[in-house]
Amino acid sequence: MAISVDEAVSTGPARDHTPPARRFGGRGRAVLEVALLAVLAVVMLFPVLWMIETSIKENRDVYAIPAKFFGFKVTLDHFKDVFVASGGGRSALSAAFLNSVVVAGVSTALATVLGVPAAWAYSRFSVKAKKDQLFFILSTRFMPPVVVVIPIFLMYRQVGLIDNKLGLILIYTAFNVPFTIWMMKGFVDEVPAEYEDAAMLDGYTRLQAFWRFTLPLLLPGIAATAVFALIFSWNEFVFAIFLTSSDSVRTAPPAIAGLIGGTTVDWGLVAAASIVFALPVLVFAYLVRKHLVAGVTLGAVRR
């Protein structure tokens, strides 16, 4: 069983171990603990709040010294600038967002199609040196991207995949397949193999048993895994910046990073673009919160 946030947060009443004599001290301590937690929460959330504030401030308030926390005029101009170019028409940023959707979507679909059957096979069959194979698969995911990108760059230059969406899709798929296999193997392990055995006694082949009985049970797991793969590809920056350059191919992360290239930086626009970029990730992450522990450890930790 994977430990989920929900489980982690809904365990019954407080453990009250404090013997009666020490109750009073215990209450003082509880207040202190809540206060400490509140301070930490404010520190952790302040940057996010500040980003939201900056995105809805007018430029003159963005650069105000001292910084304005309250009482600024709210404007949605920065969000408009994210999608609409200054002369009218679509902005380069909105094109980049569209590219991100295509690249992340297609690479996630490919990784799922390749990874789910492999995970099922690793879970069900005795494969030679299974453990070594699985460890090898996971370790490819740990390679430093800056190192991998050097030979990939040369390779792509040979076959004309530089500044090409297909090139990005391929490398993202390769980075998501190890994750998909590890994550999905956990889900497949949770579905009893006896279901397939029973189906095969009824005359189905192994493949049909997988397709008709196991796969439907795996769908929630596949959805959760795909969402994580989607987040990884969506957030990826290193390959995107080295392997693409033109506006028609570039994904959102390098496009947003490109906003600070000039002499003056429009921080309101940067903030608005960052929020538009981060919002889908947060929504998706909330949807798969039950599987966060497994997801963020690349499917390695689940109990």
Binding site: D6, H17, A118, A121, F125, V148, V177, L207, F237
Partner: protein, 316 residues
């Protein structure tokens, strides 16, 4: 129920029992075929996109190839490796990386575990608190880097503004040698403390309650309970989280690129960033490949350690 396959018609049980020896043998054969058919596409992709590039990098690391100059590559054997291992520049970057990795991982482990411990002692609002604390982790390093760059800006950054209103001196966070690396550590800690918190929380809630009850019957002190029950049970999981973070921090590139671009001077240049400079600004592809291969070796050692502990945790 769904329709069975045409061949088996009405009496599938009979078909299976009519040919007793065959199903076992042919099934095992078809199982093996299925396994190969299902696993090989994924493995082939990994071979093409991960293993082959690394082998190519290994080959290049023994040559003086340059991506821009072109022309044939000449074998120089271990020249690139000796150049890197003896370079004072590389030693400096290794030290920077070490300070960064150790500093960030220690900070986020202490903070993350503290937050998890505090949350695990609360009864109300745990779900909301956990969700809120997790936000930084889900953001792209690009967003995190850009935003902190704005907040840490010496002129109109909000951090200096707050310091100013407290009557404290302004700090040039990202443009002073000493504070830049510190800022990098702080930003990484901000983003990844939730990761440690999440995993520590999973460990903390898995500690069986009867252990605490038994301890409280024995009137064991809070510290004693923490030291003898909580920590030993959470430690294995926490160690995995720490190793995972160490690997990630060692590989880190994007945050450095966005936040400081290695500056001021070379004070925040990690090994990852230096490889990039050698490869894409210096165009010494051969040297950069050797550099990269050495980094891969370190990652492999760390990954082995990680996987070994993971295996141990799974066997328990």
């Amino acid at each position: 129920m769904s329709d069975p396959v045409p061949l088996t018609t009405d009496h599938p049980g009979q078909v299976a029992s009519a040919t007793p020896p065959a199903p076992g043998g042919s099934r095992r054969l078809s199982d093996r075929w299925l396994a190969v058919a299902f696993i090989s596409p994924a493995l082939l992709l990994l071979l093409a996109m991960s293993v082959f590039p690394l082998l190519w990098a290994l080959y290049l690391s023994f040559t003086d190839y340059s991506a821009t100059r072109g022309g044939a590559a000449h074998f120089v054997w271990f020249e690139n490796y000796t150049a890197i291992l003896t370079s004072a520049q590389v030693h400096l970057r290794a030290l920077t990386t070490l300070i960064y990795v150790v500093g960030a991982v220690v900070l986020q482990t202490v903070l993350g575990f503290t937050i998890a411990y505090l949350i695990s002692r609360r009864t109300h609002g745990r779900g909301l608190l956990t969700t809120l604390f997790l936000v930084p982790m889900m953001l792209s390093p690009v967003v995190v880097g850009l935003f902190w760059r704005f907040m840490l800006d010496a002129q109109f950054g909000v951090i200096n503004s707050m310091l100013g209103s407290l009557g404290l001196e302004q700090v040039e966070w990202l443009t002073r040698q000493r504070t830049a690396l510190f800022s990098l550590i702080v930003v990484d800690t901000w983003q990844w403390t939730p990761f440690i918190m999440l995993i520590a929380l999973a460990g903390l809630t898995a500690v069986p309650k009867y252990l605490y009850e038994a301890a409280s019957i024995d009137r064991a002190s809070e510290w004693f309970r923490f030291r003898t029950i909580t920590l030993p049970l959470v430690w294995p999981l926490l160690l995995i989280a720490v190793l995972f973070r160490a690997i990630e921090a060692f590989r880190l590139f994007d945050l450095v690129y966005i936040l400081t671009s290695g500056g001021p001077g070379v004070s925040t240049e990690t090994l990852s960033f230096h490889v990039y400079k050698v490869a894409f600004l210096g165009f010494n592809t051969g040297t950069a490949s050797a550099y990269g291969i050495l980094m891969v070796l370190i990652v492999i050692v760390l990954t082995q350690l990680y996987l070994r502990y993971l295996n141990k945790l799974k066997e328990d």
